[in-house]
Symmetry: C3
Subunit: 433 residues, 3 copies
Amino acid sequence: MNGLSEEKSGQELFALISELYPFCRSITGNGVRQTLEVLQKTIPVVRHEVASGTPVFDWVIPQEWNIKAAFIKDPAGRKIIDFDSCNLHVVGYSSPVHQVMEFSELRKHIFTLPDRPEWIPYRTSYFKDSWGFCMSHNQLLSMKDGKYEVLIDSSLTQGHLTYGELLIKGKTSKEVLISTHLCHPSLCNDNLSGIALAWQLARTLSSVPLKYSYRFLFLPATIGSIAWLALNEQSAARIQHGLVLAGVGDSGRSTYKKTRKGDTEIDRAAMYVLRHSGEDFEVMDFIPYGYDERQFCSPGFNLPVGCLMRTPFNQYPEYHTSADNLSFVKPEFLANSFRKCLSLLNVLERNAVYINQNPKCEPQLGRRGIFRAFSERTGGPEQEMALLWILNLSDGTCSLLDIAERSKLPFDLIWEASELLLQHGLLKATAVQ
Amino acid sequence: MNGLSEEKSGQELFALISELYPFCRSITGNGVRQTLEVLQKTIPVVRHEVASGTPVFDWVIPQEWNIKAAFIKDPAGRKIIDFDSCNLHVVGYSSPVHQVMEFSELRKHIFTLPDRPEWIPYRTSYFKDSWGFCMSHNQLLSMKDGKYEVLIDSSLTQGHLTYGELLIKGKTSKEVLISTHLCHPSLCNDNLSGIALAWQLARTLSSVPLKYSYRFLFLPATIGSIAWLALNEQSAARIQHGLVLAGVGDSGRSTYKKTRKGDTEIDRAAMYVLRHSGEDFEVMDFIPYGYDERQFCSPGFNLPVGCLMRTPFNQYPEYHTSADNLSFVKPEFLANSFRKCLSLLNVLERNAVYINQNPKCEPQLGRRGIFRAFSERTGGPEQEMALLWILNLSDGTCSLLDIAERSKLPFDLIWEASELLLQHGLLKATAVQ
Amino acid sequence: MNGLSEEKSGQELFALISELYPFCRSITGNGVRQTLEVLQKTIPVVRHEVASGTPVFDWVIPQEWNIKAAFIKDPAGRKIIDFDSCNLHVVGYSSPVHQVMEFSELRKHIFTLPDRPEWIPYRTSYFKDSWGFCMSHNQLLSMKDGKYEVLIDSSLTQGHLTYGELLIKGKTSKEVLISTHLCHPSLCNDNLSGIALAWQLARTLSSVPLKYSYRFLFLPATIGSIAWLALNEQSAARIQHGLVLAGVGDSGRSTYKKTRKGDTEIDRAAMYVLRHSGEDFEVMDFIPYGYDERQFCSPGFNLPVGCLMRTPFNQYPEYHTSADNLSFVKPEFLANSFRKCLSLLNVLERNAVYINQNPKCEPQLGRRGIFRAFSERTGGPEQEMALLWILNLSDGTCSLLDIAERSKLPFDLIWEASELLLQHGLLKATAVQ
């Protein structure tokens, strides 16, 4: 499960982001379908459609929103805002409008970022009948009184909410969930980076033998995960570990946000990988705010789903603005996130609880050729210690990850030593695995 | 349950202390009755009398001690010590004496504080037949050889131990205990301050709707709490939370001494209030020494009773001396202690465990007008977070105080948000409340 | 259980080490028997013999090794290495050899310490047919090409593994295990120091009344403890606390290595004693490497056996070299280790869980003359506090050691106070003791 070279991996991730960047995604509509079509060229992700009006727990699937064009023409008839040049210009889920109006009236529908006068904000207005434009504050300042022609050629219809799903089967039906949101228009870190990382994981895991089954979800945020959970409660019960991927391409340090339970195997595996990455990192306690872990970790599910990011949502100025563009994410950061994510899954795949088959005193490793027979002046090397730690702690209460943490030896060394002991019949897997 | 203005509250507390200061209290006798009579002018406290000789667990109610007069006359016949001028001059529970004796003999019955030559110590001699005088060390030094006339006109008779009790009924019969000792003569911080604070709480709680019932005890220390516990084991079993009040008027920082269990709701509420007071404070672990929490926290009861003080007993030089007088306690410190105590009770009153009625995924708060529908660029304000935290953690294992602590949001904000969610049917109280 | 004066104790310990120093011990053979014969002059240790070929768990008792002589003669016929002058010169368990060989061939059988050119290393080759010599690196450098006569007059025969055992019976059949290894030739700290300490403990405990029974084991390392455990599983089940003694005579600070469980009574007693020793000390977490605690703490036994050392194995340059000689251990360090060991056993002997017979409120100590009746201005002295702490915490869940730790009072004071309360019928021992 080694994947690609770091450089090649970064290039591929960035290339996918570049291809998906122009589409106008929202929580429903054709932008989501276009995005899934691109993914389907390389991974067998299945498109699901949930009809508008379908009740999903406390919510109802909304009308489908699509948009063909939008502009503002100034009193001289010049197009000063054009949806075709940047899909962030229109507030998401804006209702259709075509009207000539005074600047003072139009002004009420314009959103800007006075503190970042060159950037266009990203705004939405789900579940409410309204419309609006987003633009740079500098552009707003250049607008004068007079009559403006305003067009938003959008539609809100009885349609569907669209999401993508891919199950890669492993040895057991126990599942690892990889979830990422795909409802944002031309924004790169949030969340084309997460989509790309999930896609690369799916490609990598398809070609290797797996212990767990892996379920990938490409969902519109909030309503998408609520819909999936409402329609797939049985699948949800199979989730042993889960990870939400979002904002994984910026230059910040890696951040892991813990599950609601806070001390599950994925929490410990993620913290283990970050601690041993040799790089700076952050671990956040769970809070009921953020991405779709909010729904997976709601008390009625309480699934062990964490979240892997770089700089957390809302903690970088480019967040939800036009500055979250193709310059803001870099191949090297994407590849770095991908490598850590793979290391984390590697720990989950290899982690196990074994039982020492010779629990009374140490077995004679030397006789089996596992141990050097000639006693040494200095203590045994790390591998000897790995063998002794596994034998000592494998009483059915400790996993290999527990042993790695208590012994302070590398997880992969512990795993290799456990394979050696398994081959010699000195360990046995517990029934539960 | 907001009570009075801080200034008015301090004045009232100080006025009561001034009124009670002159009485000669002891563990029995008329001083205690006088004190209760003053309280009965404003709160319906009930006076109880327990006859001398009554067995109370390992103890027996002692004879009642009263004193009319006491003096020492020097060889020239001048009264150099007069009980009327200061009741600390006589060792508490001194047996009667009227005798002329040599200075060398009298000296054995005189107690002073050589390190604090101007102060008179406070001493008692319960359960032992003896008598003595307390005076300033300077006065002792001025005494010369010769014959002194000594009078202690006291009586030890088959009488009663007196205490006061007041039950303010709330919605449930579960009780909060407020206990304070009233056996000290003219000493202000220890413990007229505690008596005054309990009295002010009783006045305040009488006029507001309450969840808990509140039991106020005005007891002689040790023997009083032992007597009450021995005679009221069934009432003791109703105590959910308890607080001993003592030494709450000096200029030191507030100190909370934990219950024997150490992590009960009152411990957590008290620490919460002190941590959020914006002032310096101290939390002491339980020790089996101090005030009547010693009895309430004896292993056979192990009640969740903490103790609120300012400078702990025995840690200020004025403790148990004539310097613990009306100058030593200040209205502002009394009012400050009262405010914190009320905040603590407020947390207990408002704390509750609720169950999220919509535990699978988040409920759609926007649709109910609880949440702003228009999604914002920046994260929700504190109230939104309060709503999300309550919904996420209200699985029956977390109280509002737990949620306040985990979310790091103010308890009152969490409580307000819980009221909003209750109104919308999104929460339900647990059966146990 | 006070033992001897520190000076006398140190002299006796050192004298025993000096007497045992010359013998050539190994995991089997006459050196072990000679060592036990010396001990048998002063303590009734029983010699056990386990026949070669006996299966003991995953191991088999090896052939018995003995050696009469060994030398290397240089091309000029001079004995340059002679076993008689230092038994470290021969690799332990060397098979017999008598041969004339070229230096280049002999060189393959010579072990030195290039970093410590004046010291002779200690090496063994159990369970493998080979032979070798150890010498100083300087001596190796002085050897020239030519033919060398090599003799090792050793024997490997169907014999026995020898170990010593001594049970000192106490009031109960519950046992404290004291184990030490006796398989090293002329090395003082590792482990004549441990043998001497165990011997001194045995002498001391023989003459005092004891709560526990004490089982002393003088075992060849690893195979000896495995053999004992395999042949004495029922005895092993009686072990309540255990201590491996090794490397207790060097100048380093005392080190306690925790049991596998990590929080047993012996762990807490050992840490208590070291913390209160007024000297620097180290506490190591359990690792499955070191001395025979590896076997006692294997998961199939998981006995509460810790290890008392000074500088840990392998952390001093003299370890397993000729420099671990009679100059390396000092009477004062031996006596210091002995004293701490005795203190530790003292805590185990005196520790108990009592039940307060008067759990509701405090008993009236004054009436019984336990407490001074005259109330004091200042807090009670330490003994009063000890009484109050014991009464408060003796609810069946706290041992005297727990109470000492929670009260921060000295364990011996707590014990004395508990004896006083027992005498007055205020405490009762729990049934389990």
